[in-house]
Chain length 346, copies 2
């Protein structure tokens, strides 16, 4: 049936052509010490002449690592979060993996069946480590991966005291910066539209908002906090509710750009001008923010940088052979700073 002629040159052939032994070629190719300059040159020539490319399957089988890393994105999140998020993340991960000459295996998990498939995959040690994007508090995956002794780094965390290695952005700082900025613009009745409170990221942003108010000496008002769910519709409803509760509010911090867009629509319905009547600040600094009318002030997360940092941490763990080693020292955890991008909406 399948006619695999497969004429690829092997180590053995390179060795023969270079007039040395297999072992020497292996050492030369892997940069191991103890190979004479002369041998190195002969081997380099032979490799070039034959167009030799090592067979990875054989390498893996013979005992080294797989040279691949999995990036897992639970689909539930993918829909909710600002879309560009994952692309930026992938970009960062990809960049760093390319530098280390490792492969990126992308896994979207949408169903129980796919989760099990991934479990088998990890169990089969088809990858050297796992990067896990935006995990819900009740996701069984982190525990599972850790139990299998597979190095793991998460993007974001499930609670303030996350035991697993992670890279997160400073969501508390994001809320504080937004409020400080609004206060600086002379606003005093500052409302917020929160994300789903079962996500740590949403709680942290709310916490930042409250901290920001406290720092400005403003007493928080429950009427100025409305629950959203990271969707545009949610943002719109929350904004209507806020306006109903307190028509005098003069600023809103929405915990995501998409919700801010919903809020903006609700404000327009209500005949409020942005920023004259109500100033608006979002989070994500996504394309949506730039394209809104007026362009939205937003807190930027260093998404690509998070991807890079996660990858570096993971590669380091892998390098240490630390699949939650026997006495896995401290799990590395990083919180990267956010940055306020001021536009016309505030």
């Amino acid at each position: 049936m399948s006619e695999r002629q497969n004429g690829r040159p092997t180590l053995e052939q390179v060795a023969a052509l270079a007039g040395v032994g297999r072992g020497t070629v292996s050492r030369a190719i892997n940069g191991s010490p103890g190979v004479s300059e002369q041998a190195k040159e002969a081997i380099a020539r032979a490799v070039a002449e034959l167009g030799y490319v090592p067979n990875q399957a054989a390498r893996v089988l013979a005992g080294s690592l797989t040279d691949a890393v999995a990036l897992v994105i639970p689909e539930t999140e993918a829909r909710v979060f600002a879309e560009p998020y994952f692309l930026d993340l992938i970009r960062g991960v990809s960049t760093e993996l390319a530098l280390a000459d490792k492969q990126l295996l992308l896994t979207l998990i949408r169903s129980e069946a796919e989760r099990q498939r991934f479990e088998r995959y990890v169990a089969a040690r088809r990858v050297d480590g796992v990067l896990l994007a935006s995990v819900h508090g009740d996701d069984p995956l982190p525990a599972l991966i850790t139990r299998l002794g597979m190095p793991l780094v998460m993007n974001g965390r499930r609670s303030a005291a996350e035991p697993v290695a992670y890279v997160d952005s400073d969501n508390i700082g994001a809320g504080r910066a937004a409020v400080a900025h609004l206060v600086g613009r002379g606003r005093s009745r500052i409302a917020t539209i929160t994300g789903s409170q079962d996500m740590y990221v949403a709680r942290a942003r709310l916490g930042g908002y409250l901290a920001g108010l406290a720092e400005a000496g403003i007493v928080p008002d429950e009427a100025l906090v409305a629950a959203g769910d990271f969707t545009e519709a949610g943002g719109r409803l929350a904004m209507r509710e806020l306006l109903a509760r307190d028509p005098g509010l003069d600023a809103v911090f929405a915990a995501s750009d998409v919700m801010a867009a919903g809020a903006r629509a609700a404000l327009r319905e209500a005949g409020r001008r942005v920023p004259e009547d109500v100033a608006l600040v979002g989070v994500d600094d996504s394309a949506v923010a730039r394209l809104m009318d007026p362009p939205l002030t937003s807190v930027r997360q260093p998404i690509e940088e998070m991807g890079r940092t996660m990858t570096r941490l993971l590669l380091q763990k892998i390098g240490e052979g630390n699949g939650t080693g026997p006495v896995a020292g401290e799990e590395p955890q990083r919180i990267l700073p956010t940055e306020l991008v001021v536009r016309e909406s505030s």
Copy 2:
């Protein structure tokens, strides 16, 4: 240094426990014919008991396929195109690969070095096939991959008569549908903002626009065609130019949502109302379209479906062992229909 205890069970152990030979276990696991029910059961029990998972490296080495497929995204494109595009594409590809129990290897190519790295990868036959997203006309990759005898399916094409297998959306139909819709709304001075004309997709959408005009019996006017570059800024500039050339225009078909957003801003600057004065239609049906004010009528591309279709075609090629076989029959090519999503902007 690295303490790899690696206590994973092997085929041999399963065979021993099941009281059969290695060959029988292999056959049973791979669903090959010629295994008695009795043996199958004993093996299934042993597999379960030991938690056996086949070692993929060994499988690949012993001659079967790698069970992985690469999805390549040239970075130049990634920035220009509507961001969600690739995520949707990935989603489709991922879905279909999961069904076939294959792995998705994502490769972003941003530099010459990364391209070479990918070349080596393909040369090493680390994947069974390649999916290539949005390729420029002068990209050396398609030729290279084909030359290496690696099955390839592209997303989009480089010219009307693309020799390589591809899945594209009906961009001509998109332009026609947009124009037909605008004509149906009573518009007659319909302008267009094109994408970069060195991309086939941009030329096709322009072609569709022209075809649409022809079908409506409208004589095209050069003054109503402005060149954009798929960016918001480009759309804004193009719109200004169009208004300068013909202040009386009453509709605009922008070849992407992002350009439509730029156009919308320029229209606002010029004091034109949308849709009262000028109706606006974009392409992509992205988040941007939904969030614009007013929400943008847009032509939806079946992106996820394209991803699925590409993947199915590729798997089929792989199945046929058709790495551009000796006399590779017709290369499969699919053009998927687009769909107009009407919103308030028109």
